[in-house]
């Protein structure tokens, strides 16, 4: 069947779901809610009770608020088992519509991928399928078309986006159960999915940019989903962001990068005269372009990617974006949207690699490498499970950029994107299950949870092994080639092994902090299998953990398979490069992965990280005091706890530079703009005061003015005709 030509169905399905929920089930739900609240007025446990009530209930419950650890996220996700009630029927119907639409979309996306894998049509392989939607406008000989292009890269992204989105939709039924904004959540989730699919399907910059901004918008909406949550109670050191502020921060920080992105697009457009990716990436186009302009343009485009993919120095929004519901973090801030920057660079890879100067990819690589290490170090000391994962995401995105920068094609980075999407989504969904079970996201209040929620623990362990680069897991097959390629890159670039050093150290840190998170959450002392499977005694919290429902654990189990096995797609590079690189069969693939000395170093490093985490947190043989006891260690710890003071630095910049400029603008506004406005007002008033004297009420005066005017016109006509001979 011709799936590729019908790829437009994929974004159309969630769009239809969104419209159905928005105009169909949500109004019905609200009507039903009004009816219910009319019947059970005063009953706080009705399905329709408002959101503030649930927040105060959670705060009032002694088990939670007495600890001072209550969080707004927890008060919604964890606390609703006591006071949230069931999901209303129509809201549930809406979410089922969303899930069904996503399942269908996923199957179409898989069909597209399979068609690309099996096709013999060389034209399709080389150029993909162009799907024309409509002409936006025509301008001279320039066509601004809204069109999709499906090629191998898009096909991979489609499967990732629809797959993760489908599972997140399903998971959210359990996670968001009873939330007052349940329907709104699914609307926004569907909106995000549509936007992300438009982004990856776009055949030109215009369509991509529409998707790019729409995902930013839906990210804003979803991070600020609990916009009426109470601010963080004083005394908490988790540094939980206030959702509306976090949403704004995410939106504005990303916009900073988009500024460069837009300029980059325009430079590219003015240099080449086209927005179309196919045309841009063809040598026929870019060989005629000034290389300096092209390099600048590519670096500016990368600015957009820096913002969207939360790379240094615009990474600050992603940890705060964890204020959103955890499924959102899994979908948007781990698997898909933040990967859009990587996708963008990969999409323009020929421009970066062949057309622009080497500086552009060097910028990509060094920003990525530095960010990977930078974020990994911060992740070492986080106590919030979601924060660990957020910094881990930033770090892994850095890996992807390194992969793009050092690789001979875009397969390395995209392969890591592909595997990362699964195991990071799994990690986030697993952490969501933990938060849902406990009502807190503070890892110091966890421990030994493997006994209570074994499915979550097992799947989380799979993902942790994968991200740590443990052999035979997906992350190993995608991350180790990047590290190896970074070494080769150093060799070919005059022995500059900076990128290799950054990535290998990051690999160690990644293994360490991920297993630290695992042990703190699920494992711990006294547990089975040397602490990997924690005991009840290791549990440090008070709330009784309750296991997740099937809608929540089923996505975890499903995701565990790609998280473990996605790395065995041996001919990924061959597929993505349209056959430019040779296909590899699976045994050669595994053999080559282990025959390399560099790979062995990588494995050793990863195992060392795991071992250190095990020593410190698994069996607790090595107390953290060893590192933080001395003044230097203490200083570093404080530095990391404060995230290198980046937020404070930005706060200072905003306080003094931005607000200073704002004050100047206010002065300008007050004295120049207002001066002009008020001045014109005064002028009109003066003119009115002067001219009202003529309004004497003397009709004969008016008549005289009329005929005097006629006379003047007559005289002017005479003058024009008689003297000027007009």
């Amino acid at each position: 069947m011709d799936f590729v030509s019908y790829a437009w169905v994929i974004p159309a399905l969630p769009l239809a779901a969104m419209i159905l929920i928005f105009f169909g089930t949500r109004p019905l739900e609200m009507l039903a809610r009004r009816r219910a609240s009319g019947e059970t007025a005063g009953a706080g446990h009705s399905a329709g009770h408002d959101h503030d009530a649930s927040a105060t209930d959670a705060h009032a419950s002694p088990a939670v608020s007495a600890q001072g650890e209550d969080t707004h996220g927890a008060s919604h996700s964890g606390g609703h088992s006591e006071n949230g009630g069931a999901t209303p029927f129509w809201a549930m119907a809406g979410s089922v519509i969303g899930v069904v639409a996503m399942v269908l979309a996923f199957f179409v996306a898989v069909g597209v991928l399979v068609e690309f894998l099996t096709t013999k049509d060389n034209n399709l392989i080389q150029h993909g399928q162009y799907i024309f939607l409509f002409d936006w406008f025509r301008f001279g000989n320039l066509d601004y078309t809204i069109a999709f292009r499906v090629d191998q890269l898009t096909a991979v992204m489609l499967v990732v986006v629809t797959g993760v989105s489908m599972l997140v939709h399903l998971y959210s039924i359990g996670y968001m159960e009873g939330d007052p904004g349940y329907s709104r959540f699914f609307i926004e989730l569907a909106l995000f999915t549509v936007a992300m699919l438009i982004l990856v399907l776009g055949a030109n910059f215009l369509v991509l940019f529409i998707g790019w901004e729409l995902v930013g918008l839906s990210s804003y909406l979803l991070v600020g989903f609990w916009f009426d949550a109470a601010p963080e109670p004083p005394g908490s050191d988790l540094d939980l962001p206030y959702p509306p502020a976090a949403a704004l921060k995410a939106f504005l920080t990303t916009r900073l990068g988009d500024f460069g992105f837009m300029i980059g697009i325009l430079i590219l457009f003015f240099s080449t005269g086209t927005f179309d990716f196919g045309a841009l990436n063809s040598a026929a186009t870019y060989t005629h372009v000034n290389q300096v302009a092209l390099t600048a343009a590519m670096i500016l485009v990368f600015c957009g990617a820096v913002g969207k993919s939360a790379q240094f120095p615009l990474h600050v929004w992603l940890p705060d974006a964890m204020a959103g519901p955890t499924p959102v973090s899994a979908l948007i801030h781990a698997a898909t949207m933040v990967a859009a920057g990587v996708y963008l660079v990969a999409r323009l890879f020929p421009l970066y690699h062949f057309a622009a100067g080497p500086q552009s990819l060097e910028v990509v690589g060094y920003v990525g490498g530095f960010t990977a290490l930078f974020a990994a170090t911060i992740a070492l000391v986080q106590n919030d499970i979601k924060k660990v994962l957020a910094y881990s995401t930033i770090s892994q995105l850095g890996y992807m950029f390194v992969g793009l920068a050092v690789g001979p094609n875009n397969a390395l980075g995209i392969f890591h994107l592909f595997t990362h999407a699964f195991f990071k989504a799994l990690l986030f969904l697993g952490s969501g299950a933990v938060i849902h079970a406990l009502g807190t996201q503070d890892m110091r209040k966890m421990g030994g949870l493997a006994r209570y929620i074994p499915i979550t623990a097992a799947t989380f362990l799979v993902a942790t092994l994968s991200i740590s680069g443990f052999p035979f897991f997906a992350g190993f097959f995608s991350k180790d080639p990047i590290i190896g390629q970074a070494f080769d890159y150093g060799t070919t670039h005059g022995g500059n092994y900076t990128l290799y050093g950054l990535t290998i150290v990051t690999a160690f840190l990644t293994a360490f902090y991920m297993f630290r998170a695992y042990f703190l959450t699920f494992g711990g002392r006294y547990g089975q299998i040397a602490g990997f499977w924690g005991a009840e005694r290791a549990y440090r919290g008070e709330a009784h953990p309750h296991p997740p429902s099937w809608v929540m654990w089923l996505p975890l189990v499903i995701l565990a398979f790609p998280a473990a096995l996605a790395g065995y797609w041996s001919s990924f590079a061959n597929f993505l490069t349209k056959g430019a690189t040779p296909a590899v069969n699976i045994s050669d693939y595994i053999n080559s992965a282990f025959s390399d000395k560099l790979t062995l170093i990588g494995i050793v490093v990863a195992l060392a990280g795991i071992a250190l985490a095990w020593l410190m947190y698994g069996v607790q043989a090595l107390p953290a005091k060893v590192f933080t006891g001395n003044p230097i260690g203490k200083g570093i710890h404080a530095l990391l706890m404060h995230k290198y003071y980046m937020d404070d630095l930005y706060r200072l910049i905003i306080k003094y530079v931005v607000l200073g400029l704002a004050h100047l603008t206010v002065l300008f506004d007050r004295y120049i703009i207002d001066g002009i406005v008020n001045g014109s007002g005064m002028a009109v008033r003066g003119l009115g005061a002067a001219t009202r004297r003529t309004e004497s009420g003397n009709t004969q005066g008016y008549g005289a003015a009329i005929f005097g005017g006629a006379l003047i016109i007559l005289l002017l006509l005479f003058f024009a005709v008689g003297v000027l001979k007009l």
């Binding site: 004969q700 005066g701 005289a704 005929f707 005097g708 006629a710 006379l711 007559l714 005289l715 005479f718």
Partner: protein, 178 residues
């Protein structure tokens, strides 16, 4: 300049017209003004006769010289102010009005003398010689005003009757004592 009867008649009528108009404007007694207005209306009727517009002339006599003059006299009678010495004074800015009117008059006369229409009038003199010979214009005028079959001004004519009705009612409403 040949002094045939129509020419003499024209100048006589013109002198009476201008003279009575000036009298209307300049006289200090409003009743005298009103009487000269009647004279002026009659002279205008004469001018229409000279122009072969008998119907207009008769209408002029009936409506203007008859009805409007009586109306004006009624109004004067009803608004008589015993205290004022002059019943028809000038306003303060009469000199300004004079300047405007004189200049406008010169301008109009100059324009009439130099316009394309004046050139047209050179080959189309008013045929005053046919004075009283043919009065067919009344029939034609009647057809033009309210023929239902040929092109006519029947709709404006009907509207004009509505205007008159409105004016009658309006005058009664405004003028009645309340």
């Amino acid at each position: 300049m040949s002094l045939d009867i129509p020419t003499i008649a024209f100048y006589l009528i013109a002198i009476v017209l201008v003279g009575s108009a000036l009298a209307v404007v300049l006289l200090r007694n409003i009743v005298h003004s009103a009487l000269f207005l009647a004279v002026m209306f009659g002279a205008a009727a004469g001018a229409y006769v000279l122009l072969n517009a008998e119907f207009i002339a008769i209408v002029q006599v009936l409506i203007y010289a008859g009805a409007v003059t009586i109306l004006v006299l009624f109004a004067i009678m009803l608004t008589r102010n015993a205290q004022s010495q002059s019943s028809n004074p000038f306003a303060k800015q009469w000199w300004l009005a004079l300047i405007i009117c004189v200049l406008l008059g010169f301008g109009l006369v100059y324009a009439v003398g130099n316009s394309a229409m004046a050139v047209a009038s050179a080959f189309a003199p008013v045929h005053l010689a046919t004075l009283g010979a043919d009065s067919g214009t009344v029939t034609r005028l009647g057809q033009l005003l309210y023929s239902p079959f040929v092109y006519s001004y029947v709709l404006p004519f009907e509207i004009a009757s509505v205007v008159l009705l409105v004016a009658i009612i309006g005058a009664i409403v405004i003028g009645r004592e309340d």
